[in-house]
């Protein structure tokens, strides 16, 4: 009786083990989905403020446990929260060493000063600068991520960052707030 039960358990263990082994082969996950999921949360400014040469390398570093989740200022607090949720770790406030969140802005080239050196074109991580050698350059505003990587290489300092203005197009309804009003003073009544 004892032996029979041992055989049954052994048999079951073998069968289930084989099944698991086959399943592991059949449903093998290609690549590292965690990197892609982290990358999807990152704002893709490719600014390198985190200390890595782009959003994908930073995502890879987070996945490998080399980088912390609070190194991305453009992602802001919401980004850190999303990363903490995804990775199941504690939320941390943004690390000020890597910079502070700024309002969304785009680069602007002063066309009178530009000498057409193409240095900014080579620096732009998303090819958002149009121009050729010895010809004026200009920013494709809709594709500029506001990473500021073009500012440093410019030899004549003709690039500046311009914050996006609020227009009726991008205007948002505000969160309902109720103004606190001072009531007229009534000396006869004392609030209970």
């Amino acid at each position: 009786m004892l032996l029979t039960s041992i055989y049954v358990m052994l048999g079951l263990a073998l069968v289930l083990g084989a099944l698991l082994g086959i399943a592991a082969l059949l449903f093998k996950v290609e690549g590292d989905p965690v990197v892609a999921r982290i990358d999807a949360i990152l704002p893709q400014t490719q600014c390198g403020q985190c200390g890595y040469p782009g959003c994908k390398p930073y995502a890879t570093a987070i996945a490998n446990g080399e980088a912390d989740i609070n190194q991305c200022p453009p992602g802001g607090d919401a980004g850190v929260h999303a990363l903490a949720d995804l990775l199941g770790v504690e939320y941390k406030p943004l690390n000020a060493e890597h910079g502070l969140p700024k309002p969304k802005s785009v680069a602007f080239i002063d066309e009178a000063t530009c000498i057409g050196c193409t240095l900014c074109i080579q620096a732009c991580p998303v090819d958002a600068i149009l121009g050729a050698a010895k010809h004026m350059h200009t920013i494709i505003a809709s594709e500029c991520t506001g990473c500021e990587l073009c500012l440093a290489p410019c030899p004549v300092d003709c690039i500046s960052m311009v914050a996006l203005a609020e227009t009726p197009d991008n205007w948002k309804w505000k969160y309902p707030v109720f103004p606190i009003k001072a009531l007229p003073v009534d000396s006869g009544k004392v609030p209970s």
Partner: protein, 645 residues
């Protein structure tokens, strides 16, 4: 048991339809005070031409139209100021004749209170129309009518301001079988459609006939709320001339004027929430819009004016036909002026309208009603209390949403959840806010959540684009690196071959990479120097003979010079050791050939043509050239195909 339930439900259904005269009641809805009487006692009045007209470019849903005028231009009434750009867009016309005095940013009637681009027109008082051409819509092709309508500037005048020409297009998957004319005008205070129907029913019916013709709709249903008996009578009388058209009164219940609610009321059809009504063969037009269509086709008049109700806390509430761009203070003055206790002004109805940031804004195509608000008419809401989950809002919601859930999600910035609960089906009718016993401004929360979600979606789209472009850039850099490495390897290999078989390597090199061409040039330059030196020496020995022989021989040399040089070069060096006469001849020949090659190269560089060494090429090089040529032609085709846009 089942049969009993079925029987009972059938009985109830029959009872319901019998009592409501074939009206299919929608869920929810509220009964706010109508306040329609005040502004219907006087006929529609015309307003005199004001001193200045301000026309915002943003007057409709969709893309901003493209300006066609500049400051100082004189325009006639009805002349186009800005033309529709993109699919969903509408033109803007001069409401009267006059001069364009400014094109600048000014505050527009928008809840944001932000300035936007406006055209300012100073009228000359003549009110002179441009030459108008009526359109024979019965005998003109459909596509022609639609493209003509695109220049008319007509948009939905019920308040949604969706460009009308798009709604009349015929390229839809399912054909329109029913045209619904929305004359419900369910919002309190607004009476512009009511007065329009009372006074201009004939013209409206003509417009309906045009819309019916354009859509090919078999049936027309005109839906009017039962609080407008005069309008119903006028429309019923005028609609006799239409085929297969019925005027149906619907019970007064806000928001029966919403297109989907009206479709449900009149036809009993629930349009699926992710579909448009045209996908189930129904199109809805406002009465004022069909009237504008009629005026455009019958007289050629573009959209330059509209009817505006001025009511609320004013002395004489009335409807006015005003030119677009008229300053609203003038409108208020025409209605006897706002009473002293007026606190603010509302554009649109009290349920769905918004507070004007300032009264100094112009009338736009969306402005159906201006209400002067006072504490007596619109008591400021008592402070909001916590939600008690009574779900009265859910009972009132005409779209069958769960407003209390949406409120929780919006309040806690839980946007994904709000989206899951179909926040975007909310029509912002305000029924939930109206019934809320805790006085919570629910619609404000939904508007906040909606605009946050839209902004987040836009940011996500931008991030995806940035990721794609960054990936492409990295791939490009990698590819260029590889190509460079390959070239270096090739050059190293060809240099090795060069030592073994110099002549073959030479031809390979010239065409395979630019560095080889540079090397070749240097070789040519060196050859030229050597040739010159030899020539000088030869000239010293026998000047006369070379002088007469050279031109004839140079003339006879073939055009293809580069291989010649390659062949001639070893000859030149060997012949230098031979007798002086033969040497001098040959050197002079080479020098002349080099001069010609240089001239040719210069000419080619000036015309921009690239040298084509298409002979003596290896198969690999030829394949490369073919590939480049293919890319070049493809690029040219792409440029050509993009040019018409």
């Amino acid at each position: 048991m089942n049969t009993i339930i079925q029987f009972a439900s059938k009985l109830i259904k029959n009872l319901a339809t019998n009592t409501a005269n074939d009206i299919h009641k929608f869920h929810g809805g509220v009964h706010p005070d109508g306040h329609k009487y005040e502004s219907t006692t006087r006929p529609i009045a015309q307003l005199p031409i004001p001193q200045t007209l301000t026309l915002p470019l943003r007057q409709h849903v969709g893309y901003i139209p493209k300006l066609k005028v500049k400051v100082g231009d004189y325009v006639l009434k009805g002349e186009m100021l800005a033309e529709a750009e993109g699919t969903v867009s509408a033109a803007i016309h001069a409401p009267t004749s006059g001069t364009i005095t400014a094109i600048e940013e000014a505050v527009i009637p928008h809840p944001s209170g932000l300035p936007d681009m406006c055209v300012t027109l100073t009228p000359d008082g003549k009110d002179q129309w441009k030459p108008l051409t009526p359109i024979d819509w019965k005998n003109t092709a459909h596509s022609e009518l639609i493209s003509s309508l695109r220049t008319s500037g007509i948009v939905g005048l019920g308040g949604a301001t969706f460009p009308t020409h798009i709604k009349l297009r015929k390229d839809r998957s399912s054909a329109i079988h029913t045209l619904i004319i929305n004359a419900a005008e369910c919002e309190p205070y607004i009476t512009c459609d009511d007065m329009l129907m009372r006074e201009r029913a004939e013209e409206i019916i003509q417009g309906i006939a045009i819309a019916q013709h354009l859509l090919g709709a078999a049936k027309v249903v005109i839906g009017i709320e039962d609080n407008k008996p005069e309008a119903t009578q006028a429309m019923a009388g005028a609609s006799q001339s239409l085929t297969n058209a019925v005027v149906t009164t619907v019970p007064t219940l806000y928001p029966s004027g919403d297109a989907r609610r009206l479709i449900h009321l009149l036809l009993g059809v629930e349009v699926p929430h992710h579909k448009r009504s045209t996908e189930v063969g129904i199109q809805v037009f406002n009465v004022a819009t069909v009237l504008a269509i009629y005026r455009y086709f019958a007289f050629g008049e573009p959209s330059v004016s509209r009817i505006v109700t001025v009511t609320g806390n004013v002395t004489t509430p009335q409807n006015f036909e005003v030119l677009l761009g008229t300053p609203i203070p003038l409108l208020m003055a025409a209605a006897g002026g706002a009473k002293p206790d007026t606190t603010h002004f509302v554009m649109g109805g009290p349920m769905m309208g918004f507070d004007l940031p300032t009264l100094n804004v112009p009338v736009t195509k969306a402005a159906n009603c201006i209400i002067a608000a006072s504490p007596a008419l619109f008591a400021p809401p008592p402070p909001a209390q916590p939600c008690i989950r009574c779900t009265r809002c859910a009972d009132a919601c005409p779209v069958n949403l769960q407003p209390q859930e949406l409120y929780w999600f919006a309040k806690s910035d839980n946007f994904e959840k709000a989206r899951d609960y179909n926040l975007f089906d909310c029509i912002e009718c305000g029924c939930c806010t109206y019934v809320c016993p805790s006085n919570i401004p629910l619609v404000q929360y939904y508007r906040y959540a909606k605009s946050e979600i839209i902004a987040l979606d836009k940011a996500q789209e931008a991030a995806d684009l940035a990721r794609e472009r960054n990936d492409f850039r990295l791939a490009r850099i990698e590819r260029e690196k590889l190509e460079r490495a390959q070239k270096h390897a090739e050059r190293a290999a060809s240099a090795k071959n060069n030592e073994a078989k110099p002549e073959l390597a030479e031809t390979e090199k010239t065409t395979s990479n630019p560095d080889a061409v540079e090397a070749k040039k240097a070789a040519i330059a060196a050859a030229v120097e050597r040739a010159k030196a030899l020539k000088l020496a030869a000239a010293n020995i026998d000047a006369a003979k070379t002088g007469t022989d050279l031109p004839v021989q140079a003339e006879s040399t073939p055009d293809n010079t580069l291989p010649n040089i390659a062949e001639a070069k070893p000859d030149a060096t060997t012949s230098a050791t031979n007798e002086a006469q033969a040497k001098a001849d040959k050197q002079a020949l080479i020098a002349a050939a080099i001069e010609r090659a240089k001239a040719q190269k210069l000419a080619a560089a000036q015309t921009g043509a690239t040298p084509k060494n298409t002979e003596n090429l290896s198969a690999k090089v030829k394949a490369e050239i073919d590939e480049i040529e293919a890319i070049r032609t493809k690029a040219q085709q792409m440029i050509k195909s993009k040019a018409p846009d």
